[in-house]
């Protein structure tokens, strides 16, 4: 399902298809880029949930599960089998017995238990705690009421029992790099961050803070014949223009493209074929605070959705580097409903809805925004005249992204524009609108709807996948009708990939996150 609806455009698809048809070449160097900042946060991936850090962590570390881009779901990685019992709450993992850490020791169940206990340690406030908390007894460890997670039990070295508190797919909780498995003996030592040891296909060579991370092939990696490349260099390149020059100069193999470059690369016959793109699981939207009186009325929220010409903004301002949003769940979500239509641009209808709601002359609201080019001030500025046409005035409050995040969490806004992860797990994405979810967690609009709650709860209880999808689609449709937000777009992630780099995966969770053991370079690569 996921694969069927994955949006793959033009030669990006041809590129990966060609890669599969060829025999992978051993050796060579892959030169990737980390575009989301001038540094990596830390070589201890448990401390950082940033997309930037996961780029290197995908090569260095491994988690219990891994994201399979082709199937569009997390699959077992460090285990061969997951036997589910206890009404879906008990998972018995038969671990692989051929997985070795980079210092040569074999991984056992003890390492997984140690890693999850480390992540949930309340005194450390590791971001991965939100995932580990789903294991029974983890919350007690986090609060300091227990020393070890009671829901994790070592049956033998290669069998692990995990009891969950909810009936969820643990794959969605344990595929991210922030739940990577560390070697219990080594990771407790002080120098671990300087020379991290993992289970990934590449082992650590050097980290030049602010410049690059260099890794080399791990010979005892558990997937036969992989990784293909001898070396992996990840360069920190936060400036799009610099990446552009370096890519054209063949100094790097991958480069994330912004809207302006996307347009330029499409127009250049020599570069057009290097583009790969995928609909990522991020939804851009304007959140409306119901404690601000006009936004408490559904008709006003619907009016805003009708008053804004989202297609025009996507085509002209975002340069086509986004997909029109219909509701909360993105295109690549397994519960996305293809039949659903977005709100039509209809200012007359918007005016009528406003009049029905008691605002025939409109009203004024404060819109908090960051400067982000894809979901910030430029978008707000384009929308202002559209809302003005239906009588709604906007007062812009521009803040930094860090400040915006805090304002949203505190509910300190009338309206805001943001980009939020809405996948890969549709259940988790929709749970943000469940009435039991606190405002400060992710129910930023303090959404409450009994029918929505019921549909979502039923989806969580059912064992039938099709019924589950249908219930999630129903909840997503309810959300569209209630319009707690203005549904803007789903991010289209675009990356330029040199023709000699093969095996790029269209990862909808984050395009820069590649399972690097599947990448290889042919003999035309200029890198030695």
């Amino acid at each position: 399902m996921f694969k069927k609806i994955a949006i793959v455009v033009g030669l990006g698809l041809a590129l990966s298809a060609t890669a599969e048809a060829q025999t992978p070449r051993k050796g060579g160097t892959i030169r990737m880029t980390a575009p989301y900042g001038s540094s990596f946060t830390s070589m201890d991936i448990h401390t950082s949930p940033r997309a930037q850090d996961e780029i290197y962590a995908k090569a260095l570390h491994r988690s219990l599960y891994i994201w399979n881009s082709a199937e569009g779901k997390p699959v077992l990685e460090l285990a061969k089998e997951d036997i589910v019992s206890g009404g879906g709450l008990v998972h018995t993992f038969k671990l692989r017995d051929d997985v070795y850490f980079h210092h040569g020791r074999r991984m056992t169940a003890d390492d997984i238990i140690w890693s999850y206990n480390r992540i949930i340690d309340g005194s450390k406030a590791y971001p991965g705690a939100r995932f580990v908390r789903v294991i029974e007894g983890a919350a007690e460890v986090e609060k300091g009421q227990a020393k070890e997670i009671s829901g994790l039990k070592k049956i033998d070295d290669f069998t692990l029992e995990m009891k969950l508190t909810e009936k969820v797919d643990p794959g969605f909780y344990f595929f991210n790099a922030i739940t990577s498995i560390y070697p219990a003996d080594e990771a407790a030592k002080e120098g671990f961050i300087q020379k991290p040891i993992g289970l990934g296909p590449f082992k650590f060579v050097e980290h030049v803070p602010g410049s690059r991370v260099v890794l080399e092939r791990w010979e005892k990696f558990y997937k036969p014949g992989k990784p293909y490349a001898d070396k992996l260099i990840i360069s920190l390149m936060s400036e799009a223009a610099a990446r552009d020059v370096a890519f054209r100069n063949k100094e790097i193999d991958t480069s994330v493209l912004g809207p302006a470059q996307y347009l330029a690369y499409q127009a250049d016959p020599a570069l057009k074929s290097t583009i790969v793109e995928v609909a990522e699981v991020f939804t851009r939207y304007m959140g409306m605070n119901p404690s601000f009186k006009p936004f408490a009325d559904k008709r006003v929220r619907q009016a805003i959705n009708h008053a804004i010409d989202a297609d025009l903004i996507i085509n002209k301002l975002v340069k086509g580097k986004a997909y029109r949003a219909t509701s909360w769940l993105p295109l690549t979500s397994p519960a996305y409903d293809k039949a659903m239509k977005p709100y039509a641009f209809d200012p007359a209808k918007a005016k009528q809805l406003l009049a029905d709601a008691g605002y025939p002359n409109g009203f004024e609201f404060e819109w908090t925004t960051s400067q982000n080019e894809s979901w910030g001030l430029p978008i707000v500025e384009a929308i202002i005249p559209m809302l003005d046409r239906v009588g709604i005035k906007v007062k812009v409050k521009q803040v930094e992204t860090a400040v915006l995040a805090e304002a949203i969490r505190k509910g300190d806004f009338q309206a805001y524009i943001y980009s939020q992860a809405t996948g890969p797990d549709p259940q988790a994405a929709l749970k943000c609108f469940h009435s039991s979810t606190p405002q400060s967690a992710c129910n930023y609009m303090s959404f409450k709807n009994a029918d929505f709650d019921k549909a979502l709860d039923q989806a969580g209880q059912t064992d039938a996948p099709e019924q589950r999808v249908a219930l999630l689609q129903k909840a997503n449709a309810l959300l569209q009708d209630e319009a707690p937000v203005w549904f803007f777009n789903y991010n289209k992630a675009v990356m330029a990939v040199q023709p000699w780099l093969k095996g790029i995966q269209l990862n909808a969770t984050e395009l820069t996150h590649q399972n690097v053991e599947d990448l290889w370079v042919d003999e035309t690569s200029p890198a030695k």
Binding site: T47, R50, P209, V245, E251, E406
Partner: protein
């Protein structure tokens, strides 16, 4: 000379304390915190982690308690622990210090090597073709944006000519240093050219120069012994000021060229509200600025003994 040096060092102490206070207060009142940026937009914010993080990092403490703790740590030479990386800030800065110094010294060397001779030549033949061309270059150098110049240099010397790499630190070697150093050095080069020209022109009309000429001193000897030495005070002042300014301006160049210096550390730390790293980085920049200025003051004393006894 020693008492002069001690006096100058003591004068920097209140400046450092004032800077520490200003930085601390500024980043204590600015909205947003590391806890707000914890999820990176990739998932719902975990309020439990946010609260624990605030507690763990002491962000819940009143400002005066945090300031007290900070000053106590500073007194021991401890800049604190980074909120982001959970590493000691001193160790983070130490890793970034050498690349930044490399960049700044290379930029200043470039600026002096080109700017000072250019200014001299222009001043010795005022109104001539060299003067006109060099001043056009100087004004352009001052006006040009470093980001744009850096991109232009990348385009020409990396993409078109293929002589140099367009980005990165590599092994820290010269070929990686040239483009960022020139991008950073063009502006001080232009300033030095203009300053040198102005200083030399002024000195050339001074009484002691006229006296030396009337005594039959050759032009070469006159420039070497009288003009150059007197112009040096102004040139040194400009170089000293530029050293400090470049530390701040390096931010743009470091980001553009993926150069692993303090500038890029500072930018990322500010954006993610890593207050200890921001405070530490700014403090190092300020200390560097003060050190260079103290050294320049000492050099004044060497060049012109009257300053030492003033």
């Amino acid at each position: 000379m020693l008492s002069f040096l001690i006096r100058r060092i003591l004068q920097t102490v209140p400046i450092v304390l004032a800077v520490v206070l200003v930085i601390f207060v500024l980043f204590s009142v600015v909205p947003g915190s590391i806890a707000s940026t914890a999820d990176d937009g990739r998932g719902p914010t975990d309020p439990q982690v946010v609260e624990r993080m605030k507690k763990q990092l002491g962000l819940d403490d009143p400002v005066y308690i945090r300031f007290g703790k900070y000053i106590a740590s500073l007194a021991k030479g401890d800049f604190g622990t980074s909120f982001r990386t959970r590493e000691p800030v001193t160790s983070m800065i130490a890793k970034r210090m050498w690349p930044t110094l490399q960049l700044i010294f290379a930029a200043i060397a470039f600026a002096i090597a080109i700017g000072v001779p250019l200014g001299f030549i222009a001043a010795l033949r005022p109104g001539g073709i060299v003067d006109t061309v060099s001043m056009v270059v100087a004004v352009s150098g001052l006006s040009i944006a470093k980001f744009w110049l850096g991109l232009l240099l990348m385009y020409v010397f990396a993409l078109k000519l293929g002589w140099l790499p367009s980005f990165g630190y590599g092994d820290g070697g010269l070929k990686y240093l040239i483009l960022p150093a020139v991008s950073l050095g063009v502006s001080p080069m232009a300033l030095l050219a203009r300053t040198t020209r102005a200083a030399v022109l002024e000195i050339m009309t001074a009484d002691f120069v006229r006296t030396a000429r009337s005594k039959g001193m050759s032009e070469t000897r006159l420039v070497r012994w009288h003009v150059m030495r007197n112009a040096l005070v102004l040139i040194l002042t400009t170089v000293g000021l530029q050293f400090g300014a470049l530390m701040g301006q390096a931010v743009v160049v470091e980001k553009l060229f993926s150069w692993p210096g303090i500038g890029s550390l500072l930018v990322d730390s500010v954006l993610q509200r890593d207050i200890p790293a921001v405070q530490g980085s700014i403090l190092v920049v300020v200390l560097f600025f003060l050190t260079i200025n103290t050294l320049i003051d000492v050099l004044y004393g060497v060049i012109d003994p009257r300053i030492r006894y003033a």
